[in-house]
């Protein structure tokens, strides 16, 4: 009998849900890097690109805060390369194990999200590429608009199941 719990994606037991105008799916637990400090989106983008993370999305998360996210896990060496390349006064916290991404898409996506967050999601106020750190009900989430009718929610791992269940409920 193994002494240690085996590592598994926290939403592994949840199947993707396809409802009327709504698709809900857990994204692969790849990498979520939280960056804080005196730098800019453009500089961080260039840094990620030169580290080979051209496929990773860079998302603002508040004053001098960002998340760099992607579907592939990073090994310690790749992570260290990014940390080393950061300018002075900029810090990275690997949240790959600590935060989980959920994708919500479909024509009813904004309608569903409006039930949980007060952020104005109208196209004119929250266009593609916009992000917000906010509350969904009582759960803190980082919300990104990744397409016309496509959103991503990044949530603390221990809240992921609760949030996913709530989204399933609201999608019904």
């Amino acid at each position: 009998m193994p002494d240690f719990p085996t590592s598994r994606p926290v939403l592994a037991g949840k199947s993707a849900r396809h409802g009327k105008g709504i698709t809900l799916e857990a994204l692969p637990e790849g990498h979520v890097l939280q960056v804080m400090g005196a730098t800019t989106s453009a500089d961080l983008r260039a840094l990620l690109d030169s580290a080979g993370l051209t496929g990773s999305a860079l998302r603002p998360a508040g004053y001098r805060q960002w998340y760099a996210v992607g579907d592939t896990p990073l090994d310690a060496q790749a992570l260290q390369a990014i940390v080393t390349a950061l300018p002075p006064g900029t810090y990275l916290s690997d949240q790959s194990h600590g935060r989980v991404r959920i994708r919500l898409s479909g024509t009813r996506a904004t309608e569903l999200l409006s039930k949980g967050t007060a952020v104005d999601l109208h196209d004119s106020a929250f266009s593609v590429g916009h992000t917000a750190t906010t509350l969904f009900g009582h759960i803190s989430v980082h919300l990104s608009r990744t397409g016309e009718t496509e959103f991503e929610l990044t949530v603390l791992r221990s809240f992921a199941e609760a949030l996913y269940s709530e989204l399933e409920e609201l999608a019904a």
Binding site: A61, G62, Y63, Q65, A118, V119, D120, A132, T133, T134, L135, S140
Partner: protein
Amino acid sequence: MASLITCPHCGQRPKEEFTIKGDASLTRPAPDAGPDVWYDYVYLRSNPKGLHKEYWHHSSGCRRWLIVERDTVTHKVHSVTDAALTKLGGAA
């Protein structure tokens, strides 16, 4: 109570996203200022009707400390600024 606060970093958000710390107009006394002055600073608040200047933390948003000036009679929010940037003159 003012129910919508416009965070300088995040835009208009509901008050549920924030945590209120208290009076932002107090000045911390010198360490040797004496017990009466310290007692006043730590415990005594006047709670005026009208204009208040407070520290608000955008705890469920950008996690920055803000200074909110609001009126408890009219519920009008007069200003919201980033506490650290205001103190440092925007040089943080």
